[in-house]
Amino acid sequence: MSEAVLTVEGLGVRIAGRQVLDGVDFAIAPGEFTGLIGSNGAGKTTLFRAILGLQRPTSGRVLLGGRPRSRRGAGIGYVPQKFLLDPDLPLRGRDLVALGFDAGRLGPSTRLRRRRAAVEEALAAVDAEAFADTRVGRLSGGEQQRILIAHALISRPRLLLADEPLANLDLRSAQEVVSLLARVCREQGVAVLISAHEINPLLPVMDRIVYLAHGRAASGTSEEVIRADVLSRLYGHHVDVIDVHGRVLIVAGAGDDADLAGCEETVEHTEVIQ
């Protein structure tokens, strides 16, 4: 594997006395599509914050392109979770994308022509031209995701982080966002790390999976990770992996009175974890 875009080594994060992440190890190669899978509270957002430099690790380290980060946010595009925009915000989709080009700079824009070209290119990459002139707050969830992805892509990052981009989307919009991200990954050669609590929508496109449970991680190809023995070790109790017509169900083992309360699943999902 050539020099990894992102290397996470023995990463541990402790927040308010709780070990949110514990010895997380994985690496992402350039242009790879990686799914970060885990239920709510598994530590996905904390892991993203640590990668972005917004959360200081208590142990381990994060390397970007094989080196410690030079400055915050450099080379990473970020699409945050649950992004709610005020419908009256006076900002068109293309304005938000343009902010991705040079929002870090002070004073008036000096590279207007280059910026305009870059905005058009980024909008085209996510098929957002049709609604680029509407106020962002009035766009649908899926359309806002596209604008935010274009915002993140315009600075030509080597790694794109998307935190739960499929949450709150209907099935069709979710599928569209997944295939869009897969296409961006292929066409622009940018490594994509996308977090989700559901594994199935991502199965067809993932090169690699990082499975988080109780702050610990297992990583590899889906065949290497989505196995009863690997996931049982991660969850700390027996789980079964069942294939139902190409869909994966991860089920807490029957008759096993292991510590289910320690799972993050809600009561109605006690049995089927994924």
Partner: protein
């Protein structure tokens, strides 16, 4: 009644107080429009209103000390903004609490200073001037300070424009990009303090929010881009101040005779009309769309 039919009452163009009022009003309308668009977008209208009210304390203290009100407004508003920042204006929920706590403390002091002003001061109606303003009472010596503070605020917004806009849309994305969100927010709060102080000398501490929020809120209904909103808000603000000055000057010829009506009344009423009109325009736009 001597009231003739005129737009500009006799002597309007030769009156120095009118010249000063127009100059100060124009500078202040520009600053409040530029800063106000961000105030509305950031949902910090309450902070703006509070800084305005808190200005009363500074104005009353300045009057006790015998210095001009502008110095008092600026000093107290910058102090209050710093206090809000320290108490926790950076958290959305903490923001209103911090603002409220600082507001309460300052208004208590204002009560004391205004009391001392009326009982010990010259009793020349400074309380009404502080609270409701009197643009005709501004000394021409104040103009350089007004212009300098106005230029400073607008320059700060121009420098911070892009990071501030992204931090306003999403503090999370801004922080992930390496923008120092808290510092940007604190500098913005400084411009808000300056803008509020300038609005206070124009239309009084109590009414200062009208100039800060009104034109910006109207402009944000009419345009989909922040820079255009600033231009539209500036136009609305300047129009309200100018027409307000003209009407107030005319009002010396209206009943009751020999006393003009307060300028602040006209300015605020015109801003309110502008806001209503913007709603009408938007409603028609959306019906046609």
């Amino acid at each position: 009644m001597s009231a003739g039919l005129f737009v500009f009452a006799p002597g309007f163009f030769d009156n120095e107080a009118v010249h000063v009022a127009l100059a100060v009003g124009t500078a202040v309308a520009i600053v409040t429009a530029v800063v106000g668009v961000f105030t509305v977008m950031r949902g910090q209208s309450f902070a703006g209103e509070s800084l305005g009210d808190i200005g009363t304390t500074g104005g009353a203290a300045a009057s006790l000390l015998g210095v001009g009100p502008l110095a008092g407004f600026v000093a107290i508003d910058v102090l209050a903004a710093a206090a809000m920042e320290l108490v926790g204006v950076q958290r959305v929920r903490g923001r209103d609490l911090a603002t409220g706590v600082v507001l309460g403390a300052a208004i208590g002091l204002a009560a004391l200073f205004l009391y001392l002003d009326t009982t010990q001061g010259s009793g020349n109606g400074s309380t009404v001037t502080i609270l409701f303003g009197s643009i005709f009472a501004i000394s021409s010596a104040t103009i350089p300070a007004v212009v300098a503070l106005a230029a400073l605020s607008v320059a700060l917004i121009a420098i911070l424009y892009r990071p501030l806009l992204l931090a306003t849309v999403s503090p999370e994305i801004a922080a992930a990009r390496g923008i120092p969100v808290r510092l940007v927010g604190a500098l913005y709060l400084l411009t808000l303090a300056l803008a509020t102080a300038l609005a206070a000398i124009t239309i009084g501490t109590i009414l200062s929010t009208a100039l800060l929020i009104g034109p910006a809120a109207a402009a944000l209904r009419l345009t989909t881009r922040p820079l255009r909103a600033m231009l539209v808000a500036t136009a609305i603000g300047i129009a309200a101040v100018w027409v307000g000055v003209v009407l107030a000057y005319d009002s010396y010829h209206w009943p009751p005779q020999e006393h003009g009506w307060p300028v602040s009344f006209f300015v605020v009423a015109l801003i309110f009309l502008g806001y209503l009109a913007s709603g009408l325009v938007k409603w028609r736009q959306e019906r046609e769309a």
